[in-house]
């Protein structure tokens, strides 16, 4: 088995806002191996973006606080490092791209400068060499006439091209892990496919670990190796992508799959999940999904199910995971 690059263990993040506490991440754990693509799937409010920002160490404190847990990169717990040493990992070992590249790029600096800045600050490269490398990187993410466009400002690019600039910037230091937070959500469908294809190709070429955060089942199906499904700030299921689609191991995943149209299966009708996503300042007792769960029993309201291995390579945080897995759909 490949080396474990990134290991998140029992991560808790809360927001303290005007006397109220919002529990955004509640004991999330996952692992990312070298060369692997891990998709983290969840609705908005499931804590998937917050968790990623906690891993990067870019949460605003206050209001956000990481209260417990560990984020280990090649065995080093990043959360325990002082800010100075932690900074050295950002961009160099773990890089991140964001959903909205227009607001994520600085409007007053030329894009070439923003890419070159990584090389100049981390590697102390001279200005001209950094710029030449920035153009190379732009070329690599297939931005046409990169040498000219390096002098343009972010608002002069189209949405897809801007996201390519973000990717070029993230790849500048050959990171081991790339976290892509909803990289295609703000884009048109055709452009979405191009960006996903680019990410997959680059990941293959550079054999990075890729974490793909998304709410869209369709986006991850082709590129991900494994999927972690998040609900109310914790992982509820973890499985290789094909198996998860074939045979979900948690009622929430089951619900998600039933609520989107699929080409590989003929379904009579789409069934939405009953109820609303949980209020994160008052998460239901026991299994957080139990108020919406068709299989909920008394035990679910009182006892928090742990994420446990139910089959080889598969985990689920449901008391009745085996039942779910065996059920005929």
């Amino acid at each position: 088995m490949a080396e474990t690059l990134l290991e998140v263990e029992g991560l808790y993040v809360e927001f303290r806002l005007r006397g109220r506490t919002v529990h955004a991440v509640n004991g999330l754990s996952y692992e990312l191996r070298a060369g692997e693509t891990l998709a983290i799937l969840g609705e908005s409010g499931s804590g998937k973006s917050v968790a990623a920002q906690a891993v990067m160490g870019i949460l605003d404190t206050p209001p956000a606080y990481v209260t417990r847990g560990a984020v280990r990169f090649r065995g080093t717990d990043l959360l325990g490092l002082p800010e100075r040493r932690r900074r050295a990992y950002r961009g160099a070992n773990i890089a991140m791209i964001f959903q909205d590249a227009l607001s994520a790029l600085n409007p007053v600096h030329r894009v070439g400068h923003q890419i070159a800045e990584m090389l100049r600050v981390h590697r102390g490269m001279p200005r001209s060499a950094a710029r030449a490398r920035a153009v190379e990187l732009m070329d690599r993410v297939r931005i046409p006439s990169a040498a000219d466009r390096a002098d343009d400002y972010p608002h002069q690019f189209s949405g897809g091209m801007r996201q390519r600039v973000m990717i070029a910037m993230a790849l500048a230091l050959d990171p081991d892990v790339l976290i892509a937070d909803e990289p295609t959500t703000a884009l048109d469908v055709t452009v979405q496919a191009q960006i996903m294809k680019l990410l997959a190709e680059l990941q293959d070429e550079l054999s990075m670990g890729l974490i793909l955060i998304t709410h869209d089942l369709g986006v991850v199906a082709d590129v991900a190796d494994r999927i972690t499904v998040m609900y109310a700030g914790r992982a509820v299921e973890e499985a290789p992508v094909g198996e998860l689609y074939e045979r979900p191991g948690h009622p929430y995943t089951q619900g998600l799959l039933a609520s989107v149209p699929r080409v590989d299966r003929r379904t009579a009708a789409l069934t939405p999940i009953a109820g609303a996503p949980p209020n994160l300042s008052a998460i239901p007792s026991g299994c957080p999904f139990h108020p919406r769960c068709p299989r909920a029993r008394d035990r679910c309201a009182t006892e928090v199910p742990a994420l446990r291995t139910v089959r080889p390579e598969r985990s689920s945080a449901c008391h009745y995971a085996e039942e779910v897995l065996d059920a005929r759909r």
């Binding site: 806002l17 919002v22 908005s44 409010g45 973006s49």
Partner: protein, 309 residues
């Protein structure tokens, strides 16, 4: 939205499930305001000043410029504690009038002018801003150009020229001169608001249901567009009061026998080295009044802007 998760979390946490709805925004703001001591302090100061302006007889038995005797001019107060200073708690002014009574009577002019200029400018801004924003095209172009021209004249310099050209004026003249240059920012704000509301879905829906211009304007656009302009106008009453006092002080505003803090400060300017109390009393009242508007403004702005909490 760039950060769906955090945004959602924040939205839920502030309990304002729908931050866009004005009603809940105002209720939230109030819930925030009434817990701030600054808010109450400035409200009390403003209330006292307004009472002084409206009913000076509650504070002094003397009228303006009454019982003045030049033989007793420039008598400093016997004590800095007004309650222990006998007949003339603030001393007497250069004309020998009781300075306490004069300062009390001096409240009316700045307060009245402050609010009149604000209401006048508000009226101009709401009218021009809504015409400009609602109809667009040539009315918008025309009004916007006129606004640009008046925006090119700074408040005090503009008022200075107007009042110099018409030396014979009373309170009304000062109100007009300041109002003439005070409406521009509010008009631009109003225009922006109206355009924003005009394009809102619910207004488009009302239009499709066959509502006419007047009805859309009265029922939908004005109620939603006026609130921010009104708040802006009220929070800047302090600036108008400061400007009025400056004009009085420079000698182009109100003239004797009017009574105002600005005029009192003007009279004090030649003798303030020997009689600093003549400067101190009106200066402190004026500053405290302007300060209370500023502090109130800060409190309201913070309360209305959920991001700044």
């Amino acid at each position: 939205m760039a950060e769906p998760d955090i945004a959602d979390v924040t939205a839920e946490a502030t309990a304002a499930a729908d931050v866009g709805a004005p009603a809940s925004l105002w209720r939230d703001a109030w819930g925030d305001l009434y817990r701030r001591p600054i808010f109450w302090i400035s409200m009390v100061i403003m209330l006292v000043m307004s009472a002084m302006a409206a009913f000076p007889s509650l504070f002094t038995s003397l009228g303006a410029n009454e019982h003045c005797d030049v033989r007793f001019a420039k008598q400093p107060p016997t004590s800095w504690n007004p309650f222990a200073a006998g007949d003339h708690p603030f001393g007497t002014d250069v004309h020998g009038c009781d300075y306490y009574a004069q300062v009390v009577h001096g409240t009316r002019a700045p307060i009245v002018i402050g609010f009149s200029v604000t209401l006048l400018s508000l009226a101009i801004a709401v009218t021009l801003g809504s015409l400009s924003g609602f109809y667009g095209r040539w009315p918008d172009a025309l009004i916007s150009r006129i606004t640009d021209v008046f925006f090119g004249l700074p408040l005090l310099l503009g008022a200075l020229v107007v009042l110099t050209a018409f030396p014979a004026h009373g309170i009304g003249g000062v109100v007009l001169a300041l109002g003439l240059f005070w409406w521009t920012t509010m008009t631009r704000l109003m225009r922006g608001q109206v355009i924003a509301v005009r394009n809102a879905d619910y207004v488009q829906a009302a239009r499709m249901l066959g509502a006419g211009d007047v009805r859309i304007m009265a029922r939908h656009i004005l109620p939603n567009a006026i609130a921010p302009i009104f708040v802006f106008a009220m929070l800047n009453v302090g600036v108008v009061i400061g400007s009025e006092s400056t004009l009085d002080f420079l000698g182009v505003g109100l003239q004797y026998p009017s009574v105002s803090w600005g005029l009192q400060l003007r009279e004090a300017q030649d003798v303030f080295v020997d009689y600093p109390y003549l400067l101190a009393y009106p200066a402190v009242l004026l500053t405290v009044t302007v300060l209370s508007f500023l502090l109130l403004g800060d409190a309201v702005r913070d309360a209305l802007d959920p991001r700044m909490r």
